[in-house]
Structure formats: C-alpha cells, structure tokens
C-alpha cells in the first residue's frame, strides 16, 4: 500500500480555505512536541505562545505593532509571488526605505512642519522602490536571477545602515553610541485610537484593502494573476512580463520602504544599527500563509506577530530560547507549503493489486 497524488480537475475552493488552518494546527502540534522534548509543559507553552499575548492590553498593542510591518511587506510580496517574481529582499528594501525616510529628520532636523511626516513616508516608499528596482532591472535587462540578487542586496543594505549610524549619521550629541539623533515630534508617527496603535496600523489596513480590490476586480489584478500562472498566456494577452516585473518589485519595495519608515518614525524614533527583527523574511511566511491574498495576509500577519510576542513570553516565563519563534515560523511555512498541495491534488491510498501471471522478468 502506498499514497499517491492525484491531480484534481480544478482547484479545490474548500482546501484553499482549509489549508492554512490545517497548517497552523500542525505547527501548534509540532510546537507542543518541541516544548515537551525540551522539558516543558506543552500546554502551558502553547498557551503562553499563542494565547496569552492576546489577553493583555500591552501585549495586544505590541502584537499590532509587529503585525503592521509584516502585513504591509507581505502585501507587496504577494503581488510579486502572484506574478512569479521572486523578491526575497524585502528586508533590504525595508532598511533602505527607512534610510530614505530618515534622511529628512536626520540631515535637516530643523525642517519641522506638517509636511515633514508625509514627505518622510513618500521618500521611504521611493527608497524601498528604488532598492527593489535594482534586482528587477537586472532581471529584465540581463536575465539575472532575482532571488539571488534581491537577497544579496539585503546584506548590502544592512551594511549601509551600519555604516551610516556609525559614521556620517551618528548623533553628534550621542556619546559616540551608534545611533542617529532622535526624531522631532513632527517626524514622529502619531498614535491613534487612544494610544492603542500607531497611525501605521490603519494606513496598513487601508492599503491591504485597496490591494485586495485591485487584485480581485481590476485588469491589473487579472494581469498579475495571469502572468504568475502562465507567462506565455500573459504575453498572448498583450501583457508585458518585463513591465510587470518592474511594477511588482517597485510596489513591493515601496510598501517595504514605507513599512521601514513607519517603523523608525513610530516604534524606534531613531535609526539604530539594526532596525528589524527579520520582518522582511517573516513577511514571506505571512504572504504564503495568507494565500497571497491581502485579506488573508492581514490575518496571517497577526498570527506571525503573535510568534514574536509569544517567543518573548515563553522565554521570560519558561526559560525556553526565544529562537523557538523562528523555529515555529519556519515550521509554519513548511506546513503551509505542504498543505497547499491539497488544493490541486488529492491524496489517494493505493493498494497494490494482485498481478495475474508470473513475473518472469525483473
């Protein structure tokens, strides 16, 4: 007896909804096993990891803070992945966006007015887009593998940030600490809903909803989906593969850059040698868990944000390494990808039939 895959005639709508749920359940199961193996009570571990962050005001707010950049970056990545452009350099685009956005408050600290913040956000988006356009242009012009180039640029962006905060952009009054000056109030993202969240959160949700409509209802969204599934058919439809590569990278870069600027303007209020706990990579998981659909990505962003807060929670309460968060994130992506198989295939159990006749050969 063995298991084999049988291709479905059409995509299973039910499985498209169920597969992320199955994946999350399987991940929780494995997380429980990891807790047990490392000598902890699995139920307590799961509670602390997945549930407790939702029960307290501060941790809920922290979850929203973490979910915001994940969702914003994830939305941009979804457009890339839907159109078969493998941008895995969002982390670098996030950083460069943050640098562009911070240019104004760092270099012109005296420029304080109502235009400061909007300009910062604009510059941030432009910076991220420009950084993302490098691999896109190399792909369209030289046919270079965008996976490798976009990733290499993550390292370069990180080193650029490091250079700036230790060198030219270091706070002159900062006792030689590697950090920029603190942003002025005009350059700080305000909080909304009675201080529950930064303005970044509603901006992000708004962008996700707009993107959901664009993807589902417009010709551009149609183009993105066609190109991803069948580039040849896309070119037959008159869509330009190169144009879409540039578009999707620029969009993803802009959203990552915007997220980067909002992060330094809101949460950090200054530039530091490291400004992201790997949002750009975690957002890849968010995009897939959300089934590359902006609404799904909003939910997935929260699930992954929980893993950051939950990771810190289990570390402080149970002494489990907070690296467990990245382990669980990695497992989650594995299970999401495995379960996605069920959308296009059924698994069938085959019992080997008895063969008639003697096997005279082999």
């Amino acid at each position: 007896m063995r298991l084999e895959l049988v291709k479905r005639k059409e995509h299973s709508q039910a499985m498209a909804l169920l597969s992320p749920l199955i994946a999350v359940s399987l991940t929780a199961l494995f997380a429980a096993i990891i807790f047990s193996v490392t000598g902890h009570n699995p139920l307590v571990g799961l509670y602390k990891f997945f549930i407790e962050p939702l029960t307290q005001q501060w941790s809920l707010e922290a979850t929203i803070d973490k979910a915001t950049p994940l969702i914003l970056i994830g939305c941009g990545l979804a457009v890339c992945y839907l159109s078969n452009n493998w941008n895995i350099g969002a982390e670098g685009q996030f950083v460069v966006g943050a640098l562009f956005g911070s240019g104004l408050p760092v270099l012109f600290p005296g420029f304080e007015n109502a235009a400061t913040l909007p300009l910062m956000l604009l510059f941030g988006a432009i910076g991220g887009a420009l950084w993302a356009l490098i691999p896109a242009l190399l792909k369209t012009r030289f046919n270079t593998n965008e996976i490798l180039t976009s990733l290499m640029l993550v390292y370069v962006a990180g080193l650029l940030l490091d250079y700036l905060v230790r060198g030219p952009w270091r706070d002159p009054g900062g006792y030689n600490f590697p950090e920029s000056r603190i942003f002025s109030d005009a350059a700080t993202l305000p909080e909304v809903f009675g201080g529950m969240m930064s303005l970044a959160a509603p901006i992000t949700i708004g962008i996700a909803i707009i993107l959901a409509v664009v993807l589902a209802k417009t010709l551009k969204g149609f183009e993105i989906r066609v190109m991803g599934e069948s580039p040849r058919a896309g070119s037959f439809a008159g869509f330009s593969a190169k144009g879409l590569t540039l578009f999707s990278f620029a969009l993803a870069g802009a959203l990552a850059g915007l997220a980067g600027t909002m992060e330094v303007s809101g949460a950090l209020n200054q530039l530091l040698p490291s400004i992201s706990p790997g949002y750009g990579f975690t957002a890849i998981i968010v995009a897939f868990l959300g089934r590359l659909n902006p609404i799904g990505i909003i939910i997935a962003g929260f699930v992954l944000a929980l893993s950051y807060i939950g990771g810190e929670g289990v570390q402080s309460a149970m002494g489990v390494s907070n690296e467990i968060a990245s382990v669980i994130q990695g497992l989650l992506l594995f299970f999401v990808l495995a379960c996605d198989t069920l959308i296009l295939y059924r698994i069938r159990m085959v019992t080997k039939h008895a063969k008639s006749g003697e096997a005279s050969h082999v």
Binding site: E4, L5, K7, Y81, W86, I88, L138, F142, N143, T144, N145, I147, L148, T149, L151, M152, L153, Y155, V156, L159, L160, D162, Y163, G167, F281, I284, I285, F288, S321, E323, I324, A325, S326, V327, I328, Q329, G330, L331, L333, F334, L337, A338, D340, T341, Y345
Partner: protein, 304 residues
C-alpha cells in the same frame, strides 16, 4: 605576506566550494534547492556541538553531514512527494535552519572550539611557500578537491551521472524510459544536503573554530550563485569559489594595510561581487541556456 593571503583564501574558499559542488549535483538533477544556507548553518551548529561534546572533530563532521542530509530530506519530501514550490520550500528550509541552529547553538555561544587535525604531508610540507600552501592544509581542504574531481568524473563519465543529467534535462523522457525521477532526485538532494552540512562543519570547526549565531552570513546563497557562475560545470566551481574566497578575505587584509575605506564597504564586496558575476554570466543568454538543466525548478508528477 602573499603566502599568508593565499592561506586565508583557501580557508575562505573551501566551504563555498563544498556547498556549491553539492548544489550543482542537485541542480543537475533538475531541482533548485534554495535552502543551502539553512542546511549549512545546521551543519555548522551540529558539527560544533557534537565535536564539543565528544571531543572528536571527525564525529562532528559526520554529525554535520547527517544534519545537512536530514534537512535536505525534509525539503525532498515536500518538493518531490508533495510537489511543493521549490523556491518557497527552499526559503522555508533556510528560515527553519537559521531558527533551529540558533536554538541549538545557544548553549555553545562563547565556547572555544577544537581545531581539526591538520593533515601535514611529510617532506613536501617542508618546502618553502609550496609546502604550507599545498601540503599543510586541514583534511577538509583536500577532501573538497577530491569531491570536485569525483563529481566531475561521476557526472560526465559514469552511467549514474548520465542518468542524473538525463533526469535534469527531461524528466518526462526519463520517466518514459523507466527511470525513477523521484528516486534520482531524492538521492541528489541528499547529496547536496550532505555537502552543505560538511561546508557548515568546516566553518564552525576549521574556519573560525567556534559557534557564532548566523555564522554562515550568506555563504549558502553565494554557493548558489557560484553554481550559476560555473554554468553547472564542476571544474568552474573551483575557479568561482577561489575568486569569491579572495574577495571575502579582502576585508581582513585591507584593514591590516590600513586603507581608508569603510569596513562595511569591504564587507559588502562579496555580495556586490555576486551580483556583478550573476549579471555578467546571465547576460550571455546562449551560454546560460545551453547549460542550464532544462527541468530546473519544474515540478514532476508522473501520470499513472
């Protein structure tokens, strides 16, 4: 001075060489495993941990190989049996590997490592310049060259290699002729995992004998780029690996010479060089198209 530089180039190039040769075999079978970084870092941490616990470098190396293979088996199950997207699954492998290695390695941060026994070849190693460069290396450096030779011979001179290339060129035809595409690819993926694990062990046991979180620092990705650079030919991987080894130690030596260049710029050279090399190679479409395994990255589901 030159001798010292050359020695550091060798140690910097060896992990790249080992990992890239492994990935080359995987890609020749038609599978793109982007998880080299994840398998490599698991090799590094497991290799270090086992060597540290047992006091035996060789056991560490063996454990690292096993760890790389275990990771690659996970990848193989997803992409071969569940036909998952290879790019995304490779990324997942890297994310998981970095997380797991961080968790396992936490206990070993700051623990001094033990060095691999250097394999001095008597008499020859006494020759000035040539001796230290060629005959005073650790065993893994020699192993890396044997590995390249075996892979080059195996791919182009043996039946196993012929079948492997056939599966990577046209999995439909290979299946029609009765070859098990999945089995060939599974074996190739495991081989790639073993090599990545070994490369990781080299980092934590020989290159910088200690465990540092994220110590692979993108070398797995550079190894992937080297395969493209080499246009899937094993001997060219050697050239690429040593070129990159040289670029990555520039930082070290430039600082010693007190050039007035930001260290971050020097540190980013290997990454920028990777991009440059990819552009130069990819721009030559004729070269890349002829050598790229035609089924690279394409899923295979046999019709039954």
């Amino acid at each position: 001075m030159f001798e010292a530089v050359l020695l550091t180039v060798i140690t910097a190039a060896t992990p790249l060489l080992i990992a890239a040769v492994g990935e080359l075999v995987v890609e020749r079978s038609g599978v793109l495993n982007l998880g080299v970084e994840g398998m490599m870092i698991m090799g590094a941490v497991i290799g270090f941990a086992v060597a540290n616990q047992t006091g035996s470098g060789s056991l560490g190396v063996i454990a690292a190989i096993a760890a790389g293979m275990a990771m690659s088996a996970l990848f193989a199950v997803l992409v071969l049996f569940l036909v998952a997207n290879q790019v995304a699954t490779g990324l997942a492998l890297t994310i998981l590997g970095i997380g797991l290695s961080g968790m396992i390695g936490e206990a070993f941060i700051g623990v001094p490592g033990l060095d691999l026994q250097q394999l001095y070849i008597p008499v020859l190693s006494e020759i000035p310049f040539i001796g230290p460069v060629f005959f005073q290396q650790d065993a893994l450096v020699y192993l890396s060259f044997i590995l390249v030779a075996v892979v080059a011979y195996g791919l182009f001179r043996t039946r196993i290699g012929l079948v492997l290339r056939a599966v990577g060129d046209n999995h439909g035809s290979a299946h029609a002729l009765g070859y098990s595409v999945v089995r060939v690819r599974f074996a190739a993926i495991l081989f790639g995992g073993a090599c990545a694990g070994l490369a990781g062990a080299y980092l934590s046991l020989a290159y910088t004998p200690q465990w540092v979180e994220n110590m692979t620092a993108g070398r797995g990705w550079i190894a992937l780029a080297l395969v493209v650079f080499a246009s899937w030919l094993p001997l060219r991987v050697v050239i690429g690996a040593y070129l990159f080894g040289a670029v990555s130690v520039l930082n070290l030596h430039a600082q010693a010479l007190e050039f007035d260049i930001p260290s971050q710029l020097l540190s980013s050279l290997p990454y920028l060089a990777t991009i440059l090399v990819l552009v130069l190679i990819s721009a030559n479409r004729r070269l890349t198209l002829v050598n790229t395994p035609a089924c690279l990255g394409k899923p295979f589901v046999p019709d039954r």
